[in-house]
């Protein structure tokens, strides 16, 4: 999937300035504006694969490699285990130093956005699970929020709290995968086994709640799918009681580990200004000193009733991102406990919005009441109409800001569904973080921005 040919040559002649394909700082748009006005303009221009390949012939080593007279192109991935999926990187290296780097993505592109347009609104929910497959519940929530906005549905409190509980458990689960794989990339295999032990507990909880370990599709438009099984809250409570000890256990293995410190401290630096310019969100942005968390600053799904801290760090490096995510797991544990306390007080409240013509009826009602049976039949066979309009939902996913943009033209199928995933944007910052560092640091930095290729390629 190298991109060395430009498409549609007929229109290219008419429309494009001659400097179009050169990624230098003098590229102009029709108003003559250039990137020169931006600080470090060259640093935050994200090169393409062919830029890297072309530049190699003209770049000469800074003396770190006595043998060759020019820099070298190194291909990494898409099957490289430390790229966390099918990410391909093309690196220009001077000895072991990274001169520039270009991500090549699209190996996992499945056209989910196009598929969504051919499904009923409620059939899209299972597709959203597969976008960022480490936080399916968060995807479900974001999609449900956008459609609920279009429908003007009021979700009952209990369903909102349950959503918060599951979103935070998902965050812990996603951070456990991040920590395990990140540590494994650096060479600390033990941590991986410990993290996946706890993750297994969480997946079993998800299975008990939704019937699926990962792709639960549990959070639906208008509420959640089912009543959680009896005894599940006690099980979650016992997991949460033990979990802070486990976090301490991971930290015990890593925090004072000289190899871990040496590989993480001072690596992958990105300033707050560059992070904002490059669209970085989530833990990586907060580790660069920007105090912004959607759960607190633009609350959704009733997050305003929970008390929690938003960890922020000015470290700007991989180490800061590590410490910050560890702290986030502790905060999530506290939010989950608060959610359980709240749920204990609202036992008999409904789990769905009151909208019989939009939401599937309760199973029991469907079997005993004629009206419900008709609604069920209509919704399953024809879907439900959503008023025309557009809506954006925005949630704080484990990897950063996740937005769902849904357009309806008044029919029962979405006219357009678009997902803005943090991973896609965070990947743009990879070059800025890795430039001038060693190849081995690239691995540490990829681990620290915590990408999932399903969310990048969609």
């Amino acid at each position: 999937m190298s991109h060395n040919r430009v498409l549609e040559p007929a229109t290219q002649e008419d429309h494009r300035p001659s400097s179009f394909l050169h990624s230098d700082a003098t590229v102009k748009d029709s108003t003559g504006a250039t990137l020169a006005g931006i600080r470090h303009a060259e640093d935050i221009l994200i090169p393409g694969v062919e830029d890297i390949v072309r530049d190699v012939a003209s770049h000469h080593p800074h003396g770190s490699d006595p043998v060759v007279s020019q820099t070298m192109v190194l291909n990494m991935g898409p099957q490289h285990p430390s790229t966390h999926g099918v990410l391909r990187l093309v690196l220009e290296v001077d000895g072991e130093t990274v001169v520039s780097l270009a991500p090549d993505i699209g190996y996992l592109h499945t056209g989910i956005e196009k598929t969504c347009e051919a499904k009923f609104f409620n059939q899209v929910t299972p597709l959203t699970d597969r976008i960022d497959y480490l936080c399916p519940m968060t995807n479900n929530t974001a999609y449900a929020l956008a459609v609920e906005k279009l429908l003007g549905l009021e979700v009952p409190e209990r369903a909102q709290v349950l959503r918060v509980l599951l979103n935070e458990l998902t965050r812990i689960q996603s951070h456990l995968v991040w920590l395990g794989t990140h540590a494994m990339d650096i060479g600390a295999l033990t941590v991986f086994l410990y993290c996946f032990r706890e993750r297994e507990d969480l997946l079993r909880i998800f299975e008990a709640i939704s019937g699926q370990r990962m792709m639960g599709s549990y959070i639906r438009i208008g509420g959640v799918a089912l009543e959680p099984p009896a005894g599940i809250y006690a099980r979650i409570r016992s997991f949460l009681n033990d979990f802070p000890e486990h976090i301490a256990e991971y930290e015990g293995l890593l925090n004072a580990n000289p190899i871990w410190m040496g590989r993480l401290k001072g690596v992958g630096h990105i300033s707050a200004e560059d992070a904002i310019a490059l669209g970085v969100t989530g833990p990586s942005l907060r580790a660069s000193g920007v105090d912004f968390d959607l759960r607190r600053d633009m609350p959704y799904s009733g997050y305003e009733r929970f008390k929690f801290n938003v960890p922020v760090s000015n470290g700007c490096d991989v180490w800061a991102r590590y410490l910050l995510r560890m702290q986030e797991m502790r905060e999530s544990t506290s939010i989950c406990q608060q959610a359980l306390d709240l749920l204990a007080t609202m036992n008999h409240q409904p789990l769905h919005a009151d909208a019989p013509k939009t939401l599937l009826p309760d199973r029991e009602k469907m079997k005993t009441q004629m009206e419900s049976l008709i609604h069920h039949f209509k919704i399953v066979t024809e879907g439900f109409q959503v008023p025309a309009g557009e809506a954006t939902s925005s949630v704080e996913a484990p990897h950063g800001m996740m937005n769902y943009y849904v357009v309806s033209d008044g029919t029962s199928k979405p006219y357009r569904v678009h997902m803005r995933n943090a991973d896609f944007a965070n990947l743009q910052a990879l070059e800025t973080m890795c430039k001038g560092r060693l190849i081995a640091d690239v691995v540490a930095v990829i681990g620290s921005i915590d990408i999932v290729l399903g969310a990048i390629d969609r």
């Binding site: 999937m1 190298s2 991109h3 060395n4 040919r5 430009v6 549609e8 229109t11 008419d14 429309h15 494009r16 300035p17 179009f20 990624s23 102009k28 748009d29 029709s30 108003t31 504006a33 250039t34 990137l35 006005g37 931006i38 935050i44 221009l45 994200i46 393409g48 062919e50 699209g106 056209g111 956005e113 196009k114 598929t115 906005k149 279009l150 003007g152 904002i276 310019a277 490059l278 669209g279 920007v290 105090d291 912004f292 633009m298 309009g389 557009e390 809506a391 954006t392 925005s394 937005n403 943009y405 006219y415 357009r416 678009h418 803005r420 896609f424 944007a425 990947l427 743009q428 390629d457």
Partner: protein, 180 residues
């Protein structure tokens, strides 16, 4: 964070206006003190306040100017660039492609949607990578999946699909099953 301004008075806060408001004139009146509306006043072609979301439309040729203006008004973070294909609609009054820019203000803790509509014949708009370098991937994605050209983009090539791919899948005249 540099921009730490306190939330504005309720008269300019969208949350104080629950009902939907359509049309440039009506939105400009309801949001007279709103920084984004204020700074775009001259450039606006249409506006709406719907479902607690502020959508501001500008002409495609003024997108850079509009981006610059909202950036200066405190909307510091470009979240996303995406498009909607309104095929077969394609008249000067209702052009085929709608390009959306979702822009967030960390200080005001709210987002606006900047919209430019462009005609379906050789769709083309200025790239905003000179304002927000993060637009790079977003615009490449829109180019790849919608075939909209972004003038001044440093590296406008396909990002998701192979470069010999035929057509732009998210266009409405592209079949869901693809060309076989």
């Amino acid at each position: 964070m540099a921009d730490n301004s306190t939330p504005s008075p309720s008269s300019t806060s969208p949350a104080a206006n629950p009902a939907a408001i359509f049309g440039k004139q009506a939105v400009c009146e309801a949001f007279a003190g709103h920084p984004a509306v204020q700074c775009l006043d001259r450039l606006l072609t249409d506006a709406k306040w719907d479902r607690q979301e502020l959508t501001l439309s500008v002409a495609p040729q003024s997108i850079l100017e509009a981006g610059q203006a909202v950036k200066e008004a405190g909307y510091n973070f470009l979240e996303d660039v995406t498009a909607v294909d309104w095929y077969p609609t394609d008249t000067p009054a209702a052009p085929r492609f709608q390009v959306n820019y979702s822009i967030l203000s960390h200080g005001r803790k709210e987002r606006i949607r900047l919209v430019a509509r462009i005609m379906g014949d050789g769709p083309r708009i200025d790239s905003i990578t000179s304002l927000w370098p993060s637009a790079n991937f977003y615009e490449r994605e829109v180019f790849d999946l919608f075939g909209i050209h972004f003038a001044g983009h440093p590296h406008l090539t396909r990002i998701m699909l192979p470069d010999n791919w035929n057509g732009h899948p998210l266009r409405k005249d592209y079949p869901v099953e693809g060309y076989r």
